[in-house]
Symmetry: C2
C-alpha cells in the first residue's frame, strides 16, 4: 500500500490529511500555526507532525508517494512562495525547503484557493468530472479554474483570481490589490459590509441593519433572507456584479459548472440562485452555465486538493 | 510522405491549404463560396477541389492524414455546425457530411475565430510556445484561447468569446447577440464607428471625422494616428474597454501572450500599445501580460489552424 499527505497551511492552523493512493482520506488532524519569528517553525512543525504519524502507523519513507502543500500566498511553478502575510513569510523556496526538512522526493505546493478548487473538483461537487470554475467568497474573493481534470494555474499562477476582475471601472476607492473597482470590493465578506454601509448612507429606508452596532456579511445575508428590504437590495447588488463577472468568466473558459465556496456561501441556495439568475442575464447564450453549486467539502477542500497535487496525472503513475 | 488539408470556409471564398505532416504549407489556393440554395454546394465544391489536387499531385487517400475545416459559425464537439448565416447554412453534421462526401476517416471542424487563434499560436507569433489569448477585431469581436498548445474550446464551444463579455452593464442599446453592453458593441469595426458617432453627437469639437460622408473604423484609427483630437478620444475609449476586458481575461486564464488580430489590428502598434497600456492599468499585478502582439498570419491563420486540428496531439501520432 502507498500513501500521501496533504497539508493546508492557514493563518491559525495547519490541517493535515493522510490519504491512501486511491485518494481516500484515512485520517485528518490539525496542528497550530506557530507565527512567532515570522513563521520560522511552521514547516518544521509540519515535518515533525508527518514523521510522527508515519512512526505511529509504521510507514516507511518509500511508502509515501509525496506531500502536497498549500498556503495563503502566491506560489509560482518552481515552488517558490512569494510572501504570505497571514503567516509572516517572505519569499522563499517553499518546496525545496520542505524537501530538505523531510527527505521526501515528491513535494508540490500551490496557492490555497486554487488547491481548494482542485479538491472540490476531485472529491466534492464534481466528483472529478467536467470542467469548473470555483469562486471562494471569504475575507477576499479567490478562485480556481479546473480544466480537463487539472488545475489551470496560468503562467504567473494568477489564473482564477476572479476577485480582481474589474467590474466597476469608475470606482474611486482602492482594493487591497491597489487597483480600483475589483469584484472583491463588492462580493467578499468585507465587500458586502462595505456595500451595505454605502446603501445605508445613501437613503433613509428603515432596516434592521441600522440597529446593529457592527454589521457583518452574515447579518446582511440573514436579514435579506428574512425580507429586510435594504439588506435585500444589498444582496441583489452583490449578486448582480458576481453574476456579471462569472458571465464574463464563462466567455473565456466556458465550463460545465460554477461552484461557490467560502464562508459567504453558507447563505446557501438563497444566494447561489440569485448569482445564477444574474449570470443568465449577462451571459452569452451558448456559454450559460447550467450547474451552479455550493462547495461541499468546506474546510477539507484544501487537504483533498493537496493530495490531488500528488495523486494526479502521469507523475503519480510513474511513482506507483 | 503524408499530407493533410486545411480548409477555411468563409462567406465569399474557401481558402484551402495543402500541408505535409510537419505542418509545412506546400500550396494554397481559393475557390468561391457558392451561396446559392443555402450553400448546398459548398462542401461538394470543396471535396472536388481537394480530390482534384490529389489527382494533380498523384496522392492516394491513404497518404492523407485528414482534413481540418472551419466556418464562421458555432461548431460543437460532435462536429455539428449550429447555423452559419454568412453561408446560408442551418444546423447539420458538418464533419459527418464531409466524411461521407470524401471518404476521409479523419475530419475535424471548429469555429473560424478559434481555428485562427490555433493557427496563429502554432505558426504565427507564438511559434507553438506558451499560452495565448487571441482577440480578433473585425466586423465582430471573436477570439480563442490556447493553453498547453491546445485550443481550449469549452463545454459549449464558447470559450474565447471575448466579444460578448459585458463591459458596460448600463448600456441601453442591444448587441447582435441580444445582450446589452458587450465589448463587441465598442471594439468591433462596427462598434468603433458607433462609438465615434456617439462622441460626435456628444460635443461640437471640430474633427475631420465630421467632414466624411460615411465614417469607417479605418477613418477613425487613421485620423487618431494623425492627431485628430476627437478621433483620438474615440480610440482611447475603445482601447480602455478592450484593455479592461483583456485584464479580466488574464485574471481567469493568465496567459503568456495576448495577440490582437482581425482587420482593425492593421492599425498596428499605435493601437496595440494603447490596449496594453489600459490592460496594465486594469490588470491584477501578477497577471499583467508582458507580450502584446499583432497577429502575423493574416488570412492564412485559418488554414494553418485547420491543419493543426489534424496534426496536433496523440491522434496524429497514432496515424503517422
Amino acid at each position: 500500500m502507498k500513501y500521501c499527505f496533504g497539508a493546508d497551511i492557514g493563518g491559525t492552523a495547519v490541517k493535515i490529511g493522510f490519504f491512501n493512493k486511491d485518494g481516500e482520506l484515512l485520517e485528518k488532524w490539525e496542528i497550530p500555526t506557530r507565527k512567532e519569528e515570522k513563521g520560522a517553525y511552521v514547516l518544521q512543525d509540519l515535518a515533525n507532525a508527518i514523521k510522527g504519524k508515519m512512526e505511529e502507523k509504521g510507514i516507511k519513507m518509500e511508502e509515501v508517494i509525496g506531500v502536497g502543500l498549500d498556503a495563503p500566498g502566491p506560489v509560482s511553478e518552481d515552488g517558490v512562495i512569494h510572501g504570505c502575510v497571514n503567516i509572516g513569510w517572505g519569499t522563499f523556496h517553499f518546496v525545496e525547503e520542505f524537501k530538505s526538512l523531510t527527505g521526501f522526493q515528491v513535494v508540490r505546493a500551490e496557492n490555497d484557493a486554487k488547491v481548494a478548487a482542485l479538491g472540490e473538483h476531485w472529491k466534492g461537487v464534481c466528483q472529478g468530472d467536467g470542467s469548473m470554475v470555483m469562486v471562494t467568497l471569504g475575507t477576499g474573493v479567490g478562485g480556481g479554474v479546473v480544466l480537463n481534470g487539472q488545475l489551470h494555474r496560468g503562467i504567473n499562477g494568477a489564473a482564477g483570481e476572479i476577485g480582481h476582475m474589474v467590474v466597476q471601472p469608475e470606482e474611486t476607492e482602492f482594493c487591497n490589490c491597489g487597483k480600483r473597482g475589483c469584484l472583491e470590493q463588492i462580493a467578499s465578506a468585507t465587500g458586502i459590509v462595505r456595500t451595505a454601509k454605502r446603501f445605508m448612507d445613501k437613503d433613509t429606508k428603515p432596516s434592521k441593519l441600522r440597529e446593529l452596532e457592527m454589521v457583518t456579511a452574515k447579518n446582511v445575508l440573514d436579514l435579506a433572507a428574512q425580507g429586510d428590504a435594504l439588506a435585500l437590495e444589498v444582496v441583489e447588488y452583490v449578486c448582480k456584479y458576481l453574476g456579471m463577472a462569472l458571465a464574463n468568466v464563462s466567455c473565456v473558459v466556458d465550463t460545465d459548472m460554477i461552484v461557490i465556496g467560502g464562508g459567504v456561501s453558507k447563505a446557501g441556495r438563497f444566494l447561489v440562485d440569485k448569482i445564477q439568475k444574474y449570470h443568465y442575464d449577462f451571459a452569452f447564450e451558448p456559454s450559460k452555465v447550467k450547474r451552479f453549486e455550493i462547495a461541499k467539502l468546506g474546510n477539507d477542500a484544501g487537504i483533498y486538493g493537496c493530495a490531488r497535487l500528488i495523486l494526479e496525472g502521469k507523475v503519480t503513475e510513474n511513482h506507483l
